[in-house]
Amino acid sequence: MSDPLHNSDAEKRALQVLRGVSSPPPLDQQTAERVWARMRARQLNSKRGKRVAAFWILGGAVAFASLGGWQWARKGAQPQAPVGVTPRANVSSGSPSPSPVDDSVSAIEEALEPEPSVKAAPAKTSRVPGRARGATVPPANGIGEADTLAAESSLMAEALHELRQNEDPSRALKLLDDYSRQFPRGRLTDEATLLKVEAHLGLGDNQSALRVVERRAPSSGKQNELSVLRGELLLRLGRTEEALQIFEAISSASLTRPLLERMLFGLWTAQRRQGMTSAADSTAREYLRRFPEGRFASALSP
């Protein structure tokens, strides 16, 4: 059974609210340099602090030991309490107490042990059932929700692997068609659509890619992404006027940063092809303002 919240109005509205969050201000050169300079100052202070701390600890240890030795000599053979226990821990380990400025950082560093390296860690047993090549995924209506989702995810992961790692779009398409057949109302349908488009593009079949997008677009939760994709495909097929309409329509929507970048580039391309020079210049300026180091920046630079 599909989940009652899946694709429900409540979920769609919630996602709209979530996507409405404003973009962070881009990091400007000045701020990057300021953070670097403060970091360097902090590092130097920390080193100086450590040297001072080490000096005092060592001095303290020597003084304490001397005092202990003197007392021992005075009292004869009376054994004394271990001398300089606290400093010894610091001095002999070669790691003096960190300066207060680094307390929070040190605590986090401790939490970071061992180094966050997933591949280094022993492989965890995945709770997602693996799917052998060619094995059949059980139909959705015979198993629990978690298992269905796991089966969907597993099939999608296999398709993704074929597409990106093995670079085999035909095999990926076959798996994605399997997915659509087995999970007609699947919870990863939007992701499957995007992968299908990518697979068709991998085969150089722009027309089929466009058909996939157009079939899915109206009711999708990823409407903005599919609209941008549709515009891009129309541009590829030389249908510039339609592409321009799509990009103009979506330009006022709240887009994620990568989508916004693609939309601006698509809009600029369409405007240029249509001979709308001043509009294209304005779009290029907007792109460069937002993405000065974006992947299309060199193409749009005057």
Binding site: D3, L5, H6, S8, A10, E11, R13, A14, L15, V17, L18, R19, G20, V21, S22, P24, P25, L27, T31, A32, V35, W36, R38, M39, R40, R42, Q43, L44, K47, D102, S104, V105, A107, I108, E109, A111, L112, E115, P116, S117, V118, K119, A120, S126, V128, L149, A150, E152, S153, M156, A157, L160, R164, R187, L188, E191, T256, R257, P258, L259
Partner: protein
Amino acid sequence: VWSDDSSAVPDFAELYRAHVSSVWRWVHRLAGPDGELEDLVQDIFVIAHRRLPHFRRESAITTWLYGITAKVVRDHRRKKRFRALWVRPRQERDEASVEAQAPMLLEQRELNVRVYKVLDRLNERYRTVLIFHEIEGLGAEEIATLLGAKSSNVWMWLHRARQSFAKHLAVVEQEEAR
């Protein structure tokens, strides 16, 4: 720069130049509207600098840096929650944040605050995948690389995170309406 340091130092400067923008964005997204951006970014790179010589290159450098970022931000949020128990939140503090330096509509700010209020009620993993996928626009594969997870797991978390977000949003809206 860092003239009194070891031979690994030039690599660090390069690491900083190459990744400071990404770290900045991650911190902004994960910490939310009231995060102390510059301090957090600084903490992250201080740790990265110390740990760089021990980096075993068994994972992508972005995964490694993200691991540090996630822990620094989590620690910051934990401290903030703890502080909130004792100290009344100050409006002036918000206005001092970098984000507020740019003119922002009140409604937009309120929306940001509400969204993060809901996100803060989610499980940490759901919160992260939702932020990266729905707000930042990263694909499941990219998120999987950052988190060092399988993309199939990311999809699952994402699906559950969306449901969880919708439920908590309804609760928060009800609370605000009272």
